[in-house]
């Protein structure tokens, strides 16, 4: 019925919209955001989301530090990022307005809960006067001042709920209003409320009332005279779910356990923003995943290496500080040549840095952060969904090549989400886990007797006759026994290095998007894929001779990268760090001297800014 009543008001079609919900940690913005995201997904939009939690656990209500936000970018075409500047800002209190207004694009829609703009809240936010009365504000944005507090109370008058309980419902008012504004059917949401609060029917009913009130408010009052329609995008047919990068990594590892029938062992220690992977995987016990929350990061990776020695597929998850702590252990995994995947969900550094902000500054430590010559493969996921495939791929390489692998993601991918087209299990990469079962040399077992790819065999405890010892001292190139022979050492160093170079056979060539040669090549890696691809699309659409090459594999680099780089006048490397890929590329391709584009604000790159920079180069 909702749709009929909406008839009188005009409807405008828009291709994509970016909305940010902001409010106090207590205002339930994360919920509002995810629920609204689902509505758009069901409507067939492509989308991307990004939450922005406060760093503090729960700063005082109404304070600037306590502001929590959730941004969703949805549209009728392919969406790569959660969007640069929001088109719509929904602000539930003054602090939220203060900390987010700067991001709203000029001319954008500003929907505020006027009821929260009280003396004390204004003061907590550090406003001398009520900004809503500020002329400049009115000029730059379309302001909709809605007293959601009162309207919510009104809707629940006589519900018998406490004023505290009533206050907690107001986010559903905002949600209802958005449903109306973007012409989304209410049914699914009404059901989901019923489900969510099944245990407290009175609360369920209240939230439904308020949700409807919000919808009706848009529909009936004279405040809004137009609503929007974002048509479905041409997403590939199939079943989808919305997934964050962290959930995708967990799902990927569990998928490996199911496809191989082997145990995946996660040894980990909680750390923002990687903790969710451990938490997710701890729910996958029946799928062959064993999780072990260790006493620290060193024990986390140590237990995983131990499990790999015992025949499991070991992995460990962490963020920068944890990666630093695992450095010595990685060296052991390199010399022991055991399969292991380390996932580093990068965050702002150095040191404890900015735990809840994203950054790409762990590339060089991933490549070089071990004492001695200890090369290992490094892979970086490029989107939340890619985290699923990257996790599987990393494990495949670790097992095939008997080596630790570092998988780099970041806070932006880990917490960000996008629709995940659920794959056909039959089409997923096959990983074959082979254990040695018999002696391989004159009736003896030689743990370091390699195959033609230089990979050593894997004999696990429980296998009679293959008992052997391995360790961190340099080892004889066949028996694995301790060897201090200088020539043997050099042979082993070179062999380990060559083995990792051989992994290139599993690294696909790069195929630049856009111009295959020309003026500028955008060279990116990891989490910036979406922003850089977005910028490239804009520029290519403008007919510019611009290409975009994105690196998922950092070590080894794709075979053809050198050739590709040579085909462009200029190379621009956009990174959320101080130039780590640029440094690495210079060391790998003497003569190539890429330009850098570095933003280190703890936020994803903005498509518009990057595109602007490229235009300057043309």
């Amino acid at each position: 019925m909702s749709t009929q009543t909406a008839a009188p008001k005009s409807k405008v079609q828009v291709e994509t919209v970016t909305i940010r919900f902001v409010g106090d940690s207590g205002d339930g913005m994360q919920l509002t955001g995810t629920e609204f995201t689902k509505a758009n997904a069901l409507a067939g939009n492509d989308l991307a989301t990004f939450p922005d939690y406060p760093a503090e656990i729960r700063a005082p209500a109404g304070s600037l530090a306590g502001v929590s936000g959730y941004q969703v970018h949805f549209g009728a075409r392919e969406i790569h990022t959660p969007g640069d500047a929001p088109d719509v800002l929904v602000a539930m209190n003054p602090a939220a307005l203060k900390t987010n207004l700067a991001d709203l694009r000029t001319g954008g829609m500003l929907i505020v809960n006027g009821g929260a703009f009280t003396e004390s809240n204004l003061e907590k936010a550090g406003y001398k006067s009520n900004p809503l009365h500020d002329a400049a504000l009115k000029q730059n944005y379309k302001i909709f001042d809605v007293d959601m507090n009162k309207l919510t109370e009104a809707a629940l008058a006589g519900s018998g709920l406490s004023s505290k309980e009533i206050a907690r419902c107001k986010n559903y008012f905002a949600l209802g209003l958005m449903y109306w504004l973007y012409s989304r059917p209410m049914e699914a949401q009404l059901q989901s409320i019923a489900k969510k609060f099944a245990k407290k029917p009175e609360i369920a009913e209240a939230n439904q009332k308020v949700f409807k009130a919000g919808y009706a408010y848009g529909d009936t009052t004279e405040v809004f005279f137009q609503r929007y329609d974002v048509p479905a995008s041409k997403l590939a047919p199939g079943t989808y779910r919305n997934i964050t990068g962290n959930a995708a990594v967990a799902l990927g590892f569990a998928t490996v356990a199911k496809t191989t029938g082997r145990q995946v062992f996660l040894g980990s220690y909680p750390i923002t923003p990687a903790t969710e992977i451990l938490q997710e995987m701890s729910h996958f016990k029946e799928h062959g995943v064993v999780t072990f929350q260790a006493e620290d990061e060193i024990a986390g990776i140590g237990s995983a290496i131990g499990a790999s020695f015992a025949g499991a597929l070991g992995c460990t998850t962490t963020s920068g500080p944890g990666l630093a702590l695992k450095s010595e252990m990685l060296g052991l995994a390199v010399i022991a040549e055991l399969p292991l995947v380390l996932v580093d969900v990068q965050r702002g550094g150095p040191s404890t840095g900015m735990p809840t902000k994203t950054e790409q500054s762990d590339l060089l430590i991933a490549l070089y952060g071990r004492h001695g010559e200890a090369p290992l493969p490094v892979l970086a996921a490029q989107s939340p969904v890619d985290c699923f495939y990257a996790a599987i791929e990393a494990m495949k390489i670790a097992v095939k090549w008997m080596t630790p692998v570092i998988l780099l993601t970041d806070g932006y991918l880990g917490n960000g989400s996008e629709p995940f087209l659920i794959p056909d299990p039959a089409k997923l990469p096959k990983i074959d886990v082979k254990y040695a079962t018999a002696p391989n040399f004159e009736g003896k077992y030689m743990p370091y007797l390699r195959n033609d790819k230089l990979v050593r065999p894997w004999a696990i405890p429980g296998t009679a006759g293959l008992e052997h010892r391995i360790g961190g001292l340099e080892k004889d190139s066949m028996s694995g026994m301790v060897s201090y022979d200088g020539m043997n050492h050099e042979r082993m160093v070179k062999t380990r290095a060559q083995k990792i170079r051989n992994v290139v056979e599993d690294v696909p060539d790069v195929e630049p998007f856009g111009a295959a040669s020309g003026d500028v090549l955008l060279l990116s890696w990891g989490g910036t894929f979406g922003s850089v691809r977005g910028a490239a699309e804009e520029l290519v659409a403008k007919g510019k001779k611009v290409g975009h090459a994105h690196l998922r594999w950092l070590n080894p680099l794709p075979k053809n990268l050198g050739k590709v780089l040579a085909r462009y006048e200029k190379i621009l490397v956009p990174e959320v760090n101080d130039g780590q890929l640029a440094t690495y590329v210079r060391s790998k391709f003497p003569g190539v001297d890429p330009l850098q584009y570095n933003h280190i604000h703890g936020k994803p790159l903005k498509i518009s800014e990057l595109a602007g920079r490229v235009l300057e180069l043309l």
Partner: protein, 348 residues
């Protein structure tokens, strides 16, 4: 889902030789480590576990060279980290018997954190610490078990640090099996190791080990023929705590002061039943702790044997209980369904 290889059921009859890797130990002549490996290799045939299902894990140190000399699966890992690797092996493959061979520096200096956590979790790990009260491999620096004031290469004016009391630390961490033995007491060590092998749960065995090169004679105050009888208290579960040449010296608890006193049976009215009876099976670790602190007091003997031996569900058992429960409750979910979990929608 687990990685279990077929595990042979009928065990071969093993001899000591079956547990020798054939690599000759590279310890200094006269090192106490030789007698430890000798006892371990004698004990292994008696523990009823297939050779291929036993794993020896070690850190770094003279003592940590141990796994190379055993004909089992072995990992010579990183300094101090052996319990971390061992924990992963045990949680992943609970059917394996996992030994951690370590030194006083390896276990209690750099490895202290992994040590106390392995003990408190009650993981079924058998940790044997070779305590020579010195860093051997690095040639003689102070260790966390070196005596206060001890002069070593890194403390030429004496150590300013109080040492750990290792059994007390293990008990404070929650270890369910805590024992002590001495390199020169082969038979006694054999008995302790057998008991350790039979215990299910976190095992801590401290072996007083002489390092003739860098800390020679560290234990002569106990092991010298002349003093041995009066200095060594051999604890046995259920037996009164008696010692001394003629076994007439005993330990009594004074209820008023809650202190242990050294008494002599037969002297001023003390009878054998006044002597405290050792109870290693008691859940409350206090009495074990009291005995672990006995030698700190002047004029008291040093206890060897088993301080504590209590059976509780182990962390690996509890972990796998949950896994089995989840499996039996949820069954084997097919991958397609699993991937499609959570809120989904379909695009035609």
């Amino acid at each position: 889902m687990s990685t279990n290889q077929a595990v042979n059921t009928a065990l071969p009859v093993y001899t000591k030789k079956d547990f020798e890797s054939g690599v000759d130990p590279r310890w200094c002549p006269g090192c106490g480590d030789y007698s430890i490996i000798n006892q371990i290799q004698k004990t292994m045939p008696t523990v009823g576990v297939a050779r291929e299902n036993i794993v020896f894990v070690s850190g770094i140190g003279c003592s940590s060279r141990f796994p190379y000399y055993m004909n089992n699966y072995g990992m010579h890992t990183l300094h101090g980290r052996a319990p971390a690797f061992a924990s992963g092996i045990k949680v992943s493959r609970p059917e394996l018997m996992v030994w951690v061979m370590t030194g006083d520096g390896d276990a209690l200096a750099i490895g202290g954190n992994h040590f106390i956590h392995a003990m408190r979790r009650n993981l079924d790990l058998k940790l044997v610490m070779f305590n020579n009260r010195i860093y051997g491999l690095t040639k003689g620096q102070v260790s966390p078990t070196s005596e206060l004031g001890k002069k070593t290469k890194s403390t030429p004016h004496g150590s300013p640090d109080y040492p750990f009391n290792p059994p007390a630390l293990a008990l404070g961490s929650g270890a369910t099996f805590v024992a002590r033995t001495i390199d020169v007491e082969g038979a006694h060590m054999g008995g302790v190791l057998k008991a350790a092998a039979e215990h299910k749960g976190s095992v801590f065995v401290e072996v007083f080990q002489n390092c003739p090169v860098f800390n020679d004679g560290a234990y002569t105050f106990l092991t010298d023929k002349a003093v041995k009888a009066d200095m060594l208290l051999r604890m046995e579960h259920g037996k009164p705590l008696l010692y001394g040449k003629d076994g007439k010296k005993g330990i009594r608890l004074d209820a008023q002061t809650a202190q242990l006193e050294a008494v002599v049976v037969g002297e001023n009215g003390v009878t054998e039943k006044d002597v405290l009876v050792h109870d290693a099976k008691r859940d409350d670790p206090t009495i074990a702790f009291m005995l672990a602190n006995l030698a700190e007091k002047h004029g008291f003997p040093t206890p060897i044997g088993v301080f504590r031996d209590v059976r509780k569900p182990t962390a690996d058992e509890l972990t796998w209980e949950m896994i089995e429960k989840a499996k039996s409750q949820k069954g084997d979910v097919d991958l397609g369904k699993f991937l499609a979990g959570g809120d989904t929608w379909t695009i035609k």
